[in-house]
Amino acid sequence: MNALYLAFAHLRWNWARSLVLILVGALILAVPMISEILLRGSEDALTRRAESTPQVIGARGSQLDLVMDALYFSEDRATPITMAASESVWDSGLGLPIPLYTAFDTHGARIVGTTLDYFEFRQLAVLQGRLFAVLGEAVIGSALAERLGVGVGDTLVSSPQNLFDLDGVYPLEMSIAGVLAPSGTADDHVLFTDVKTSWVIAGIGHGHEDVISAEEAEQGNVAANAALLQFNRITDANIDSFHFHGSAESYPVSAVIVAPYDTRSATILRGRYLDADNPLQLVLPDDIIADLVDRIFRIATLLDAVTLIIGVAAAAAMGLSLFLSWRLRAEEMATAWRLGAGRGSVFALAGAEILIILCAAICVATLIVLSVRTSSEALLNWLLAL
């Protein structure tokens, strides 16, 4: 007890050095565990989501980018395709197509334009309010709603794409019709809206003032105004003025999730996209993610080795620091010896100091690991969205 008392007093007096030693010790202990938690967590999250998504159609190119965009709404957007890809699957009668348009953001979160089938497909429940029903309505993921402090009845404005592009995308104010229940997936961090609403954001669909008023029409005086007012919010009063130009088949989507009706349909659909000249490709997320996880774990093995080397180096630095500290305390040890202390007391003092540092490091490491474990879901979703 006396050794612990003296050791604690010494560590408290040299608090800065003690803090550094405890933090370094905590990191040596925590980093491998954090790495394991995140790796296992990412493997689970990736695999679970991929296993529940049978097929994805997108532009030919990086299969991984396509899967990451369609499943995890990652920062790297997939090259857009047209709605014709979705119509084609629908017409074939082989599966249920769910278009996704992920081109736009709001408050740093992705706006996902889709259909109501997506919520049934992902088994997403509504916590408050309802799903979107009319143009301009949105459903918000639970984590995003919490982060932004918004709920049913509030509005969110899409981020402008280019402030100086007069012909570009203009912000659209969307009203939140519902908040989704937490699902522990990327769906918690995005804003869902009808794919048509996302086309309005893209400027493909729009609403504006009538060019002529009824009164003018009656009088036969038609004078179009160049300063035509474009609506940036869809309301009951102006919803009828919204319209789309061109054919719906040519409208952009980022990817199409396909849920084949049966195994045979799935095989037929795969065969249709095997042609290398086809600008579209159909990928199986499960295979792509399995390959990714395999690569991650191969890299993780290397990281483990690097972590081990760094850990040994840090532990050696800690040992050196403690050793030098004891060298500096040679006078104290000489005094203790003169006063009648034996080597056992001196070793007990050194041991107590190491024990306290180790215990404190274990406590800090446990706190770090617990906090990472508690927030691993959000952390993984953030990492996967990068």
């Binding site: 006396n2 008392y5 003296l6 007093a9 010494h10 408290r12 007096w13 040299n14 006078e331 104290e332 005094t335 203790a336 010896w337 003169r338 006063l339 009648g340 202390a341 034996g342 056992g344 007391s345 003092l349």
Partner: protein
């Protein structure tokens, strides 16, 4: 007050393994409760004498006896117990632990020596010593926040708290200003006398010698001269 011989050195010779220095003391006796000064030039063996008496150095020949204990015959563990029980040390550089408060420094022997037991009686004695030395209101301060005189008072309290029969002071006033020297020495004398402890003090300060009962002069390097 009846005085008995507390320290006896008989035919002692000592030399460091790597060095030409040798100390020979044919005979030396110091009474219990005596205040003895040890003087002499640097390197003459003053500190070695203290080390021999404390069991920190073992004579090559002869014997060192303190009270009933033949220190030179004790093994290492017994010498440590002897020091803890019988000797109080006061050093020139105070040797206080900067990370402990003055109060904790006084009780330091009870923290570091396993055979000493810290209880309420010891704490009470420590407080009484601090009051007697005029530092009772500074017990929660660390040595860095104390003057040199106050630090040496703390060191004196630490030396006396185990109730030793012998106090060994090695240049205890060497780092103090002239006024404080006298105050600290008087304090040391008074507290030692209170406990009936003998005082063996190495000093270079000849002005203070008249205050001691006896002076051992190491001026002759080859042989200790006892006056």
């Amino acid at each position: 007050m009846e005085r008995r011989e507390l320290i006896q050195l008989q035919d002692v010779s000592f030399g460091y393994p790597q060095g030409a220095f040798r100390l020979s003391i044919p005979a030396l006796a110091i009474d219990s409760g005596a205040r003895v000064a040890v003087v002499g030039p640097s390197g003459s063996g003053k500190t070695t004498l203290l080390n021999l008496v404390a069991g920190l150095a073992i004579p090559e020949t002869g014997s060192v006896t303190v009270g009933e204990t033949v220190v030179s015959d004790l093994n290492d563990a017994a010498r440590r117990r002897f020091r803890a029980d019988r000797i109080g040390f006061v050093f020139q550089n105070f040797a206080l632990m900067d990370y402990l408060t003055a109060g904790e420094n006084i009780l330091y022997p009870y923290r570091i020596v396993r055979s000493l037991r810290l209880d309420a009686g010891v704490r009470k004695r420590a407080l009484q010593l601090a009051e007697a030395c005029g530092i009772a209101d500074k017990l929660d301060r660390h040595p860095g926040a104390l003057s040199q005189g106050e630090q040496q008072r703390v060191a004196i309290c630490r030396a006396l708290v185990t109730r030793p029969s012998l106090i060994l002071a090695d240049e205890a006033t060497g780092n103090l200003d002239p006024e404080t020297k006298v105050v600290i020495l008087d304090l040391l004398f008074a507290r030692a006398a209170e406990q009936g402890a003998a005082l063996l003090a190495v000093t270079h300060d000849h002005e203070l010698l008249q205050r001691f009962d006896r002076v051992i002069d190491f001026a002759d390097l080859r042989q200790a001269t006892v006056s």
